[in-house]
Chain length 422, copies 2
């Protein structure tokens, strides 16, 4: 947690008048900038435009296990798309279920399924009050799904190695009402933290008091590196197998940030037992997902190497953006705030002085720069320290990003100066 030195405090107080002036000047520009959402920018999206021409009226529409992907059938996808996701996630194709366009939707459906049918025991919605562990800062939409289903959320701190496993182990092993935990294991949202090997091993060795405990392993950024020193994530299923605990994890991913957000393909990896449970629901829910879009992805990427080569193009677009964030924040906020320097993912997580985050977001808003709401990275939208702010530098054009960062830094300094002066 950031704590101002006496020197910084005096410096900020001394700057207060100048910062007010600087802020008013920026506000007078009438900016309309947005650093709120983890959306790819248009340059990134255009990288995949050629995918729109790989399927033509004369294409071969058959697959190894589907005579015509244009027609109904193949609830879990067809062989070639399963193979592609299996290679991305380093699991066997028989553990893959390929779904629609949204991994969030698959997570929502998974929780819905466990609520209504259970994950191996009684339906979760027939077990009274149940709870989920939510490492935070984390992804607001995970918390949203949990809250929608009336599951109580317990915040778990993040460490530089992932969720604080001392806390996780203690809670999970002692409380049978804890039915699961969310985790973005690689390049976490918003901090960009990747679980260490030890963290993954401790996840895979959990001894839950609830036998129907499930880990929601949202590997959203599985191959989403942004520089030349990518993180490595241990394969959790390999570790689970060693312990005979394959049923404990459901893993999710999608191509939303590889090809087209909203027009990508999502998939999950799970044990046979979990797949059986989920399929029993999906069988009633739909006849099948969009196999032409799956074929489009297979035809475009061909194989894992094709995917990885494509991700290097994304990296080339993203690297300068994250370098810019680091450069501007280092110059303007050293000693005033702390922030992450991720090797992948979509975010930079900034901790400002406790009690200042909401004020910073408000100041930014009034100056025309939209940030993710303060608190959004915590369950129930409540950051106990009012300190964490998520920056999403991928979407705005580069010149707008620079301007937005300038405004952000002035707002952080101004809010800090206000605080320091008190």
């Amino acid at each position: 947690m950031i704590d101002f030195s006496k020197e910084i405090k005096e410096k900020l107080s001394g700057e207060y008048e100048a910062l007010c002036k600087e802020y008013e000047d920026l506000r007078a520009l009438g900016l309309k900038l947005n650093m709120a959402r983890g959306k790819p920018g248009s340059e990134q999206i255009s990288l995949s435009n050629d995918m729109l021409k790989v399927i033509t009226p004369d294409s071969d529409f058959s697959s190894q296990d589907c005579p015509d992907v244009r027609n109904y059938g193949n609830l879990c996808g067809f062989a070639e798309i399963k193979k592609l996701f299996a290679d991305i996630l380093e699991v066997s194709p028989e553990n893959i279920f390929v779904g629609g366009n949204s991994s969030l939707n698959m997570m929502f459906d998974t929780i819905a399924c466990f609520m209504e049918r259970g994950s191996g025991d009684k339906p979760w919605n027939q077990q009274g009050k149940i709870r989920f562990l939510c490492p935070a800062p984390g992804y607001d939409r995970h918390f949203g799904v949990t809250e929608y289903f009336g599951i109580e959320m317990i915040t778990v701190p993040m460490t530089e190695n992932g969720p604080d496993m001392d806390v996780v182990e203690k809670l999970v092993s002692s409380d049978p009402t804890i039915k699961g935990i969310w985790c973005v294991p690689k390049y976490s949202n918003p901090q960009g933290i990747t679980c260490s090997d030890e963290t993954v091993r401790r996840f895979a060795a959990l001894e839950p008091a609830a036998k129907d405990f499930r880990i929601m392993w949202d590997n959203a950024y599985v191959i989403h590196d942004i520089n030349g020193t990518p993180d490595k994530l241990l394969n959790i299923f390999t570790e689970l197998e060693k312990n005979g605990k394959e049923d404990m994890v459901i893993e999710f991913c999608s191509t939303s940030k590889m090809t087209f957000p909203g027009s990508g393909v999502a998939a999950l990896a799970a044990s046979r037992n979990n797949l059986d449970i989920l399929k029993q629901r999906y069988t009633f829910q739909t006849i099948g997902f969009d196999k032409l879009n799956m074929l489009r992805h297979v035809a475009y990427f061909k194989d894992l190497d094709g995917v990885l080569a494509h991700m290097q193009k994304h990296r080339a677009v993203l690297e300068p953006r994250f370098e810019m964030v680091e450069r501007v924040l280092s110059k303007e906020l050293t000693g005033v705030a702390e922030w992450t320097k991720p090797n992948g993912g979509y975010f930079v997580s900034v901790d400002v002085m406790p009690g200042c985050a909401k004020r910073v977001v408000q100041l930014c808003k009034e100056a025309g720069v939209i940030l993710t709401g303060a608190g959004a990275t915590f369950p129930y939208g409540r950051d106990p320290e009012d300190s964490n702010i998520r920056l999403a530098p991928t979407y705005p054009p580069l010149d707008e990003l620079e301007k937005a960062l300038e405004v952000f830094c002035v707002c952080v300094r101004l809010a800090s100066a206000e605080k320091a002066g008190k």
Copy 2:
């Protein structure tokens, strides 16, 4: 209900030996034919292949209310696709929610939403035992969704004008545990019956004992004519408005049987109140559906006229098939069975002598012809008369369809002869 005349009975008994011989000869052919599922055939699917080239890397990806359909956003779809579905369903675009690839999935989500959050009153899953009316013969997947959520199903007879509204009105007005009814209002599955104007008006004037009663209006075959004398369906929303009861109906449709099954676009039409309830769920469920596929549909069809012209091509493929069914059944089964002669949709519904349907399906199966399971058209798979069989003549190649119909007719005659002889 079919009841044999004395003459037919004697004729069938006299034919028994010859029918056995005929059946054994057919069985010896080792056929592998399928008349079970309402899937478009490959000739139909290929009608839409040119849709695969309307979106190219150089396309304009903006819409009236979405700067870039390739990116996240627009939970309910964008203006042009809403307009297209609004024109198809004859409602206002503001009442349209465009979803993923499957209207079944949207119906499933709607029921799930009402179970968990209610449809204007307490959540359905907090109201104890609740019930749904299921006009039968009907669509097995409707019954599947109802059963999945533990909703008790009450069978309502079909008449030539749609569901028996005397029964519907009586039950709905007296029993507050009845929360809804399924209805395929046009070219019903499997009978191809279209609700008469009076039936639609009576639906729109229902006085349910449950104030949170909802009509699931699955307009799956809204423009799916198969000959030159199409049925007309009254617009239920117009009637509902007259009574101030717009909240009572959710209408569904999709392009699955216009373009590509599984790669089409689904939509629902609903009142503002119902849309608000559904959006509250969808907001947590997903960031949005596949807008590139929506754009593909808009670019290909352009407008309602484009859709209607395209449906004429489907009609040209389907009309000879349904004519063939009528021709073969008239020749072979007159006096032995009764069947529908629909002007649209995907099915012909055959009523054989009570107690014979299972036997016919079994005989067909042993002779290599797969039919929809007997009973599938009734809640819980139980046809009280064991009489109804659904024929799906759209998928097999034309020569295979002819052979399958030949086998079917022999099996109906044989099963009837067995019955008549007893």
